[in-house]
Subunit: 570 residues, 2 copies
C-alpha cells in the first residue's frame, strides 16, 4: 500500500486520479496555493505536476478538503441514510458525525446499527455515535431504554464511534450513578463523548465537562461560547433547518478559531434540497464577513481534529482524498466532489446509485398498538376550568393557559371553541397508554392530524376535534407503519408513509417532498394557521426537556416543575 | 473516578489541590484569565473560586500548562532518565517524546525499555518512540540491528508510543521493502511516525510524507518550513545545546502556528543546568518578539495535538493537571511545577527523589572488545600522500584534506605534524574491527583521547599520537564500562565513567559536571584547541549521515560518495 503511494508521489507511476490545474485551500498555512492534486486509492499522494490515469480539469476552480459535519441527526432529513447521502455529498459533505438518537428511541440498538449499515452503501463517511440518553427522560415510554449496562455492552461495537450528545446534563453534574456508568464506559473504550448543555455555565459546567465531554453545539451568546471554549470544549457553528447559530462565528479570532467547527444538527431534506448543506453555511459565513480560509478550515480540519479523525480535513500527501471543487470561495457552488479518491458528484448531482436501500425488518413496522376506538379519546373533565397548551413563536417552546371548558356526556365539548384535543398514544409496546390534554389556537377543525414523529420517544401525537377521527388516524398510522395522517370527519383518511421507524421514508427526496406538500396543504386548508408547520410543530409537543407544558404517553407534564400535572384546574 | 471529579468541580467536595489567585494562560481562547485552579487526582476539575485540601498561593504568578518537548534524545544529557527529569521538570517540562536512539544502538530493545522503566520512577511523562533506524546506516556495526521484523515485533509493546524519527529518508522515498515494512508496522499498530528529513523537498518530500510521517524537526528555511507545514507536517522549533532553530518561529502566523511545536532534540545536562529547558526557549522566543500566548501554545497544546496526547496542554476541566507557575510571560522563571496533580518542583528545584536509579544489568558493561595492544594502532601508508579529516566550524560537519605524510617502520610518523591518528574500535560484539585514519588540526599532543559516545553506532573513538596510549585508552574504556578517557604518554590514565550504555552516567548532574570539567581541562591543557568541545567533537566523527569524511569501525567513509574510501592518496 505505502509503496504504491510513495511511487506515485515520486511520479515513478501514474496516479489513479489527478485534479489538474487546481487552486486549493491550504488549511495548514492558511492561503490558496496552486498545483495538480494527485490521488491513489483513497489517499492524496502529492501536489505538484502530476499525471493520472484519470484526470479532471480544475482550471478556474478552487479545491477544498471535503466538509465534515460535526453533528447531525440523519433522521431529521426524513430520509434513509442512502438518500441523505445523495443530498449532502453533492454539496461537498464527505464525513458526518451522526447521532441516531431518534431511530434508537424507536428501535433500540437495531436503529443505530441500521444507520451504520445503510450508510455503508454510499460514499459518505458516517461516524455513528451511540445515543446516550434513550429515553430522553425517565417519565415517558420510548421504544427502547439504553441504561449504563447497555452502553457498556455496545460502546465497543465496531460501528460505534463515540457516545452521542449527553443531553441529560443534570444527570452529569449530579453524578447520577447510571450516567457516570455511561460516561466511564465511553472513556474506558477510548471513545469521545459529545456534549449538549444549552446555557450551562459556571460550576455546573465545570462538573459537566468533568464527565469528559468535549464538544457543545448548543451555545449562542459570546459569554457562553468563550466559557465553553476556554474550558476546552469544541464549539459547533450550527446551520440546521430551524436552529441557526452561524452568528457564533462572529466570536472567532485568529487564536481561538481552531476550536470552532460546523454542524447542521437537524436539517430537513427540503432545506438540503433547496439550500444545500455545509456549502450553504460557508456561503453565508463568508457573506457575514468571515475570512473564507478560516470558514473552510472550520468546515474541514477543525472538525477532523475535534473528532480525532486523523489525516482528514487537509490537502496533503497521505491525507484522505476527500475533496470538493467549488467555483470560488464566495459562492461555494460545488462542481466536483471526490470521496475517498473517487469522483462521486458533479455539478451538485450525485454520481452514485441510491436506489438500493438496506432495509432490515427490525426498523420497519414499528407502530405497535392495539386497535383504537373512538371512546379511547373521551376526555372527562371535573369542572369548568382546564389547562390548555399553546405554542410560542418559534414552534418548539410551549406555554400553558387556563381555559373555560364545558362537558357533555362525560366528554369535553370542543365545538364553538378554539380548543382541540391532544393525545399521545404509546406505540412501541402495546401498553395502551394514552396521555390526553387540550391545545388552544392551532386553528385546525373537522378531523384529526396525526404523526409518529414525536420527540424524543416518538409515540403517536394526535390533535383533533373528533373522537372517531382520532381513532381512525391512530389506526391508519399503525396500518402504514408510521408517518403522517389526516382523518377528515365524515370523509377520507389521507396519509404519508414514513416506513423506517415511523420517522423516515424509504422513498427518494422528490417523492417525499411531493407527498408532504399535498398533505401539508390539506392540513392548512382545514384551518391550521400558517405560522405553524402543520405536522412538524406537533412533533415537539411531547419533548419534555423543552419548556413549558408537554404531553407524554404517561400524561400532562410540567417541564418547569419537572413533574406531571393535572388537566383539571380547580 | 468521574464522580470524584464532578463533585469537586461543583464544589460539593474539596479539591485535592488548588492554585489560588492564579492568572493563567488560556491557550484555547488566547488570553490570560484569572481564577483558582482546582485539581483532583491527576485532573484539573475547574477554574473559579475553589478550596483545596492543599493550596498554593499563586498571587502575582502566571500559570501555564506543563511544557511538552516534542523530540528529545535523553541520552544527550549524558544522564539517566531519573536525573534528566530532575533537570527538566523544575524548568516546567512535564512531557517529553523521547527517542532512545543512542542507547538502542548500543543495547537494542533493552535500551528502549530501560528508558521507559527508569522514567516511570519520576514525575515526567516520557513517551518512548521506537528507534526506526538502528543502525543509522548499513555500513557500520552497532550494538543492535532493528529490521522490519523487529519493528513489527516491538511496535505494540506497552511502553512504545510510536516510531521514532525516520532518518533513512532515501529508504522511504525509494520504497525500500524493509523500510516500508517498518512504516506499515507502525500504521497497523495505529501509532505515529516522527520525521527527520533535512532539506528534503518537492516530489521526494511528497513520497517521504506518503510513508505516513507527520513531523519534521530539521527544517530551517522559510521555504522548507512552508512546504512541510503545507504538506501536513508539524514542524518543531528546536532548542538544543548546539542545534538551535528558534528562528523558525519567525515564520509563524495567526493561521499556521498551530502546526508548530517545541523540542530540544539534543540538550546536554550542562546546558539544562545553566540555561534551562523549554522555559529558556520561551524566554528567547518572547525576546525575539513572538507573542507570549502563541509561544506558550506551541510549547503546550500544539505539542499535545501533534502527538495525539488527549486532554493535555491546556488548563480546563478534565484536562491533565500538568501546570507551571512562572513569574511572568517574559522571563519565564519557574516557581512551581505540578505534574499529574502533584507539586513536584519549587523555585526551579525538584521536590522528588532521584537517588534510586533503575539500573538493569543489560544496559551496564556494554564495552565488549578484546584486550587491545599498541600494534593494533599501527597505520601503514603506501606513499607520501594521505587523506586527513578536519572539522568545519560548528563541530559536526567534517571536511577532507590531502596531506603530506612520512612513514617509519611501517607506521605513519606524527611527530612534527599537526596530524593525529584516529581510530574507531568496534565495541559491541568483539569483532576486532578497527577503522583507522588521520585527523588534522585538533591540537592535542602526547597521548590519546577516547570516548564511547560515537554517533550513531557508539563504537569507541580514539584520537592520539601514541600507539601505546591508544591501546591503553581503549582498555580503560572497557574496564570502566564506557565513558571518556585521556591516556598520557608515559603517564597516568584519566577517565570519566558513563556506565549506562557507555553513554550516560548513573551519577547526578553535579557530579558529572565536576568530573567532566576536570577531564575537559586536562584535554585542553594537552593542546586541544578551544574551538572544539574536546570530547564531544570526537563523538560526531563517525556519524556517516553528515558530510563529508567520516571514520567507521569498517573504515574511512566518504559521505558524499556514500561509500568507503582509502586513506592512501596515489
Amino acid at each position: 500500500m505505502l509503496e504504491k503511494y510513495i511511487k506515485a508521489a515520486r511520479r515513478e507511476t501514474k496516479a489513479d486520479l489527478v485534479l489538474k490545474n487546481a487552486s486549493y485551500v491550504d488549511v495548514f498555512w492558511g492561503d490558496v496555493k496552486k498545483g495538480d492534486i494527485a490521488v491513489v486509492d483513497e489517499k492524496i499522494v502529492g501536489v505538484g505536476e502530476y499525471e493520472g490515469k484519470e484526470e479532471i480539469d480544475c482550471t478556474g476552480l478552487v479545491v477544498t478538503p471535503g466538509y465534515i459535519n460535526g453533528h447531525v441527526h440523519i433522521e431529521s432529513s426524513q430520509l434513509s441514510p442512502e438518500e441523505f447521502a445523495s443530498l449532502v455529498v453533492p454539496h461537498g459533505t464527505t464525513t458526518v458525525i451522526a447521532d441516531p438518537h431518534e431511530i434508537t428511541n424507536v428501535c433500540g440498538m437495531a436503529g443505530a446499527e441500521y444507520i451504520a449499515k445503510a450508510a455503508a452503501n454510499v460514499p459518505l463517511d458516517v461516524k455513528v455515535m451511540l445515543p446516550s440518553c434513550v429515553p430522553a427522560t425517565p417519565f415517558e415510554n420510548a421504544g427502547a431504554v439504553l441504561d449504563g449496562k447497555d452502553i457498556e455492552d455496545n460502546i465497543n461495537n465496531d460501528y460505534i464511534y463515540g457516545l452521542a450528545e449527553f443531553m441529560n446534563y443534570p444527570g452529569v453534574y449530579n453524578a447520577d450513578p447510571d450516567v457516570v456508568r455511561k460516561l466511564e464506559a465511553a472513556h474506558n473504550a477510548g471513545k469521545m463523548v459529545d456534549g449538549h448543555a444549552p446555557s450551562l455555565r459556571g460550576y455546573d459546567l465545570n462538573a459537566y465537562i468533568c464527565g469528559g465531554i468535549s464538544t457543545d453545539h448548543e451555545c449562542v451568546t459570546k459569554e457562553e461560547i468563550e466559557e465553553k471554549v476556554s474550558k476546552g470544549q469544541y464549539v459547533h457553528i450550527r446551520h440546521g433547518s430551524s436552529t441557526q447559530n452561524l452568528g457564533n462565528a462572529m466570536y472567532m479570532n485568529s487564536h481561538n478559531y481552531r476550536r470552532f467547527l460546523l454542524c447542521t444538527d437537524d436539517r430537513h431534506s427540503v432545506t438540503l434540497k433547496e439550500q444545500g448543506d455545509l456549502d450553504d453555511a460557508l456561503r453565508k459565513l463568508v457573506a457575514m464577513g468571515i475570512d473564507p480560509i478560516m470558514a473552510v478550515t472550520c468546515a474541514t480540519l477543525n472538525g477532523a481534529e475535534a473528532y480525532g479523525l486523523k489525516y482528514r480535513g487537509g490537502i496533503a500527501p497521505y491525507w484522505q482524498a476527500d475533496l470538493v471543487a467549488v467555483d470560488n470561495l464566495k459562492d461555494f457552488n460545488v462542481k466536483y466532489v471526490i470521496k475517498s479518491g473517487k469522483l462521486v458528484a458533479k455539478d451538485s448531482k450525485p454520481l452514485f446509485d441510491t436506489s438500493k436501500r438496506y432495509l432490515p425488518d427490525n426498523v420497519l413496522n414499528t407502530v405497535h398498538l392495539n386497535e383504537m376506538k373512538p371512546e379511547d379519546f373521551v376526555l372527562p373533565l371535573r369542572g369548568r376550568k382546564a389547562l390548555a397548551m399553546t405554542i410560542l413563536p418559534g414552534g418548539v417552546v410551549t406555554d400553558k393557559e387556563v381555559v373555560e371548558v364545558e362537558s357533555r356526556d362525560g366528554d369535553v365539548v370542543l365545538e364553538g371553541t378554539d380548543l382541540l384535543k391532544l393525545a399521545v398514544v404509546e406505540r412501541h409496546h402495546y401498553t395502551g397508554n394514552i396521555g390526553k390534554g387540550l391545545f388552544k389556537g392551532y386553528g385546525f377543525k373537522g378531523g384529526c392530524l396525526g404523526i409518529t414523529i414525536a420527540h424524543d420517544s416518538h409515540n403517536i401525537i394526535l390533535m383533533g376535534d373528533d373522537n372517531e377521527c382520532m381513532a381512525r388516524a391512530a389506526n391508519k398510522l399503525k396500518e402504514i407503519g408510521g408517518g403522517m395522517v389526516i382523518a377528515v370527519k365524515g370523509g377520507e383518511t389521507y396519509s404519508l408513509t414514513l416506513d423506517i421507524g415511523g420517522l423516515m421514508s424509504s422513498k427518494d427526496a422528490d417523492a417525499l417532498k411531493d407527498e408532504s406538500k399535498e398533505l401539508l396543504e390539506r392540513a392548512y386548508s382545514m384551518g391550521v394557521k400558517r405560522e405553524y408547520e402543520a405536522f412538524m410543530s406537533l412533533a415537539f409537543l411531547s419533548l419534555s426537556v423543552i419548556p413549558k407544558l408537554k404531553l407524554l404517553d404517561t400524561g400532562l407534564f410540567d417541564v418547569e416543575k419537572f413533574g406531571f400535572t393535572d388537566v383539571n384546574v380547580d
